[in-house]
């Protein structure tokens, strides 16, 4: 009966079916889209709206006042905002390259089989599993002038005690070292996985052509590993842009404001000064900064043809 109807009245039925087919993907995507909207798009839109208000946190929504771009203009005039941005970028541009170097060197070194290799590779990953807040606390106590093991070692070596977290320069260095210690194994993990995926024949071919270690590294390994390297850098930048708890417990942004990273200052604006609108405008700024980083790196990362050409050359 129905097939007959389909034959006699084929065109409308096909249209109906076609429409259903057209809509089906959207229906299947709808739950995921709703989730993305709820946890990603809505908060961004909400933050954007909040950023246009002078909104004292403790007084609630009733006390808010529309200020348009006032918060953004206020930020540009706030020296602490620029200071925190400078510190945040410095943190990223110092910590991440060093983590990359360490991770890459360890990956090259451990990309071979020897007795206990698996155990060594697994143990190297341990710092990544540390909760950032615990890492920060541990480092804080380790760097204590009087009771910290680092100063005890220095004293035994005849060096003077150093107030690591009391000096603006050493405190900034300390938070960077803490991050490097905790996150370089993350770089190692990704780069090691990338290295194992490089076809062995290509390395052997290079060796037959007489390439030494550095030549192989420059002409084969790095070009083939570039997508992995860029992915690792991108993931670390995203992570480093929102670094908070470990620095908060180590220095609380001090001494003075010498380690007041962007995320700490955003927190201070929201929960210290109770300026939710200002904090939201900082969050939007951070979002734009993240997008710039991501677009730059993803665009490079996705140019696989170029990379393959490079590797082939």
């Amino acid at each position: 009966m129905s097939s007959k109807k389909l034959v006699t009245d084929g065109r409308p039925a096909r249209n109906k079916e076609g429409k259903a087919r057209e809509h089906a993907p959207f229906l299947f995507l709808l739950p995921a889209l709703l989730v993305v909207f709820a946890v990603l798009i809505f908060p961004i839109i909400f933050s954007l709206i909040v950023s246009t208000f002078d909104w004292p946190l403790s007084e609630g929504a009733g006390a808010r006042r529309f200020v348009g771009l006032g918060n953004y203009i206020g930020l540009t005039k706030d020296p602490e905002f620029w200071n925190s941005l400078k510190l945040q970028l410095g943190f990223i541009f110092v910590a991440i390259p060093l983590e990359l170097l360490l991770g890459f060197a360890a990956a090259l070194l451990l990309n071979r089989e020897f007795f206990g290799a698996r155990l060594v590779r697994s143990l190297l990953l341990l710092p990544v599993f540390f909760l950032p807040i615990l890492s920060g606390m541990t480092w804080r106590f380790m760097l204590q002038p009087r009771y910290g093991p680092l100063n005890a070692l220095l004293l035994k070596l005849g060096a003077p005690e150093i107030t690591w977290l009391g000096n603006p320069v050493t405190a900034y260095i300390a938070i960077i070292i803490q991050d490097i210690w905790r996150m370089w194994p993350f770089m190692f993990m990704l780069l090691y996985a990338g290295l194992t995926a490089i076809p062995q024949e290509m390395i052997e071919a290079a060796e037959i052509d007489g390439a030494g270690f550095w030549k192989k590294l420059r002409s084969v390994i790095i070009p083939l590993l570039t997508p992995t390297i860029l992915t690792a850098i991108l993931l670390r930048i995203i992570d480093a842009l929102r670094v908070f708890s470990e620095v908060y417990v180590m220095t609380e942004g001090g001494p003075g404001t010498s380690t007041m990273l962007f995320s700490l200052y955003t927190h201070r604006q929201a929960f210290g000064y109770q300026k939710v609108g200002m904090a939201s405008s900082m969050a939007i700024f951070l979002l734009i900064l993240s997008i710039v980083f991501a677009l730059t790196l993803v665009r490079k990362n996705m140019s696989l043809d170029v990379l393959e050409e490079k590797a082939g050359g």
């Binding site: 204590q144 009087r146 977290l165 404001t257």
Partner: protein, 427 residues
């Protein structure tokens, strides 16, 4: 029969409803509320009110209160507010005179609170909640050090007066310098610079001691009234104290100060303490200094003696649906019976009758010092934008006392940037 059964069920349901009343309470984390927790089951049994309590570090209490307590809704029926934050939350809290009378426990008469503490919960001429602890600077000096015959003789020979509990800042500097030279490395002043509120307390203490207020209320508005010359003197003096203080004092918070005082075999000569922490310092399992501490009021500066206050008030949010039950809990907590028991447990409530109870005079030597300090209680300035000012003071105070910036320049920066904050806030 059916009617009787119905009545019975109704009665059971009503009892169930009453006994199921629950209040959510937000505590700050230190020995005092933790001690109180031991007795909460008794309160629950006596009233049928269940107490859900959350305990957080003071900065997190502030954050949580900011987020969870609003004009129209609240996650908590009772919150503890640090005195500096009363201006921010006052409009969200039920004034104490509107708290209901207690059903099981009698409403606490505010006059039972020590006068020095009562001011903590006052805002805009109203009492916003009830001060609940007696926290203000008290001085600790190591008895075994100042009674050591060798130290006593040497000090007298060098400085011409007796070694003892420092009565003035100058004496504290002299004695601290003497101990520092004698290898008691952490001897001297133990500054408290861990966070903005701590630094602000230290700065206000020194400025008051050297004869200047920082901010006063003039015509109902906060106004910068600091005398720069006197403030710089205070900062310069603190810089000298830093030289005899433990390494890294500029980064020390409570945990490091406690470690220095309690765990260092050589000991710390003298430092201030919040009475709320005395229980830890006097616990022989945690402290090498337990039983060796003399308590006193803070040493005086050229302008007099000042004890910075840092007390908590308990407040009921206007939006709470369990105001009566929350009030009942406070009446129990602030009752004479519980306050006396809290003193017995080495904590410090705000009730005068508990703090001055003669039965504790011999066993709790700090109580007399607290009572003495209360005569000199000084508050940190309070206004809505105080967090911004605290950050400014923290930044330049640390730069000044550690020599990263000349003290006069640091003070000028503090004044200029504070003025800017006050101006932007419309004062």
């Amino acid at each position: 029969m059916k009617k009787a059964l119905f009545m019975l069920l109704l009665a059971v349901a009503m009892v169930g409803m009453v006994s199921a009343q629950t209040i959510n309470v937000l505590f700050w984390d230190d020995a005092y509320p933790r001690t109180l927790m031991e007795r909460i089951p008794e309160f629950e049994k006596a009233t049928g009110i269940k107490v859900n309590f959350e305990i957080l570090q003071p900065p997190q209490v502030f954050t949580k209160t900011s987020v969870a307590v609003g004009k129209d809704k609240t996650d908590y029926d009772l919150v503890c507010v640090d005195e500096g934050n009363i201006p921010l939350f006052a409009s969200l809290m039920l004034p104490y005179d509107q708290w209901a009378p207690g059903k099981v426990f009698k409403k606490v008469d505010p006059s039972t609170v020590t006068p020095a503490m009562l001011d903590v919960a006052q805002w805009d001429g109203k009492l916003i909640g009830l001060p609940i602890n007696g926290n203000l600077y008290v001085w600790m000096t190591r008895k075994d050090l100042i009674e050591n015959p060798k130290y006593k003789a040497e000090f007298k020979a060098q400085y011409g007066y007796d070694l003892g509990v420092p009565q003035t800042l100058q004496q504290m500097l002299d004695m601290g310098t003497y101990f520092y030279k004698n290898g008691i490395v952490s001897g001297g002043f133990g500054p408290f610079n861990g966070g903005p509120a701590g630094v602000f307390g230290e700065a206000i203490f020194m400025w008051e001691s050297f004869g200047t207020h920082f901010i006063d209320y003039v015509n109902g508005k906060p106004k910068l009234v600091v005398d720069k010359a006197k403030a710089v003197q205070g900062m310069e003096f603190y810089k000298k104290l830093m030289a005899i203080s433990p390494k890294g004092a500029e980064t020390m918070a409570h945990v490091e100060r406690q470690a220095a005082f309690c765990a260092d075999p050589k000991g710390v000569f003298t430092q201030f303490i919040w009475p709320a922490q005395i229980a830890s310092y006097e616990d022989p399992d945690k402290s090498l200094a337990a039983g060796k501490i003399v308590y006193s009021a803070p040493p005086s500066g050229p302008a007099g003696r000042f004890a910075i206050r840092g007390t908590w008030a308990v407040n009921i949010p206007l939006a709470s649906k369990n105001k009566d039950a929350a009030a009942e809990f406070v009446y129990w907590w602030a009752s004479k019976d519980i306050a006396t028991w809290l003193v017995e447990k080495n904590t410090v409530p705000a009730r005068t009758d508990a703090l001055t109870n003669p039965k504790f005079a011999a066993s709790k030597p700090w109580l007399a010092a607290i009572a003495d300090s209360m005569k000199y209680a000084a508050a940190r300035p309070r206004f809505k934008e105080v967090a911004q000012v605290q950050d400014i003071v923290k930044k330049y105070w640390i730069m000044g006392i550690t020599g990263q910036m000349p003290t006069a320049d640091a003070m000028q920066k503090i004044m200029d940037e504070t003025q800017d904050v006050l101006k932007k806030a419309g004062y």
